[in-house]
């Protein structure tokens, strides 16, 4: 597990954040966060799916991150948005992919939600931070109680 704070330079980061928090950015409703089907809904935006780019926002948002991440192969890239809840609500522990790859979570805004690993490590949601775990690490998303939106970008890659 590796955390990299201030992953992007400020100019690139704020460009990404301003697009994703604007009224122009499209989000798609998903009923369940994991296949466990009891952990609440989220909004998603697929940047890369089924072996192809899937968003007009791929270049301005994803390219600057990939330039630094330098993946050899991309499986999926998706933004996730969670709504503010009255108390912290944890998704089911899950693996993003059943095959071996890496999972990176890029935190777009700071809030009191977090990523929880099965060994009880809490990863704070701090803007412009990148978390890298391997695909065998069970993890869960925990909602925030302080701000309306919690936005991350999730990368599954090698």
């Amino acid at each position: 597990m590796k955390q990299i704070k201030n992953f992007l330079d400020k100019e690139d980061f704020y460009k990404i954040k301003s697009i994703m928090f604007s009224n122009e950015f499209p989000w798609f409703f998903n009923e369940f966060q994991t296949t466990g089907k009891n952990d609440g809904f989220f909004m998603g935006h697929n940047f890369y799916h089924s072996h192809q780019k899937n968003s007009v926002y791929y270049n301005p948002i994803i390219e600057p991150i990939l330039k630094k991440l330098k993946p050899n192969m991309i499986s999926e890239i998706r933004a996730n948005l969670l709504f503010k809840t009255n108390k912290h609500i944890q998704s089911d522990f899950h693996l993003d992919k059943t095959f071996f790859c890496k999972t990176a979570i890029f935190y777009v805004n700071t809030n009191n939600g977090y990523t929880l690993l099965k060994d009880k490590t809490k990863i704070k949601a701090e803007e412009n931070k990148l978390l890298i775990i391997d695909s065998k690490t069970y993890h869960a998303a925990v909602t925030q109680t302080d701000v309306e939106r919690r936005v991350v970008i999730n990368f599954n890659y090698l």
Binding site: N23, E24, F25, W27, F29, F41, F83, R149
Partner: protein, 150 residues
């Protein structure tokens, strides 16, 4: 435009079409953050503005014309998307007449003096100058399709 009485139409659309729209608008349409009942206060909702020239929307407008039977022009046609905690505030609409179609979810529609229970496939037609609001759902998603008419 004269339309002083609020009209409520249950099962406005054919059942299959209503179910189709429910899935389409919930899962296959993008939802954009940044809509609210009033500019001054109130929770921010999600919304999706529609192209009136798109064929499915043309059909819904045709159906609305069959229902209302007085001439009108559509000023705006869009989805209101609310999640728990996204309470609507009492407000008037900036048009003459509003038609609100209940797509999916829960959270009643209210005038100051009257509550209308949320029920999928129900259409409400009312004078836009009447104060009204949409209550947030307690759980799940609430979607209404608003037609603003002049």
């Amino acid at each position: 435009m004269e339309y002083k009485h609020t009209e409520i139409i249950k099962d406005w659309l054919d059942k299959d079409l209503a179910n189709y729209l429910k899935t389409l608008y919930t899962y296959n349409f993008p939802h954009f953050y940044g809509h609210s009942s009033t500019k001054e206060k109130g929770a921010i909702f999600y919304s999706t503005y529609f192209d009136q020239k798109e064929n499915l929307n043309k059909f819904l407008i045709y159906k609305l014309k069959q229902t209302i039977k007085i001439p009108f022009t559509i000023k705006d046609m869009y989805l209101n998307i609310q999640h728990p905690g996204m309470e609507g505030e009492f407000h008037k609409d900036d048009c003459s007449l509003t038609a609100l179609y209940m797509v999916t979810g829960e959270g009643n529609f209210e005038f100051k003096d009257r509550k209308i229970v949320f029920k999928e496939n129900k259409l409400i037609i009312f004078d836009s100058s009447k104060l009204h609001r949409g209550r947030a759902p307690k759980k799940g998603i609430r979607i209404t399709l608003a037609f603003k008419l002049i």
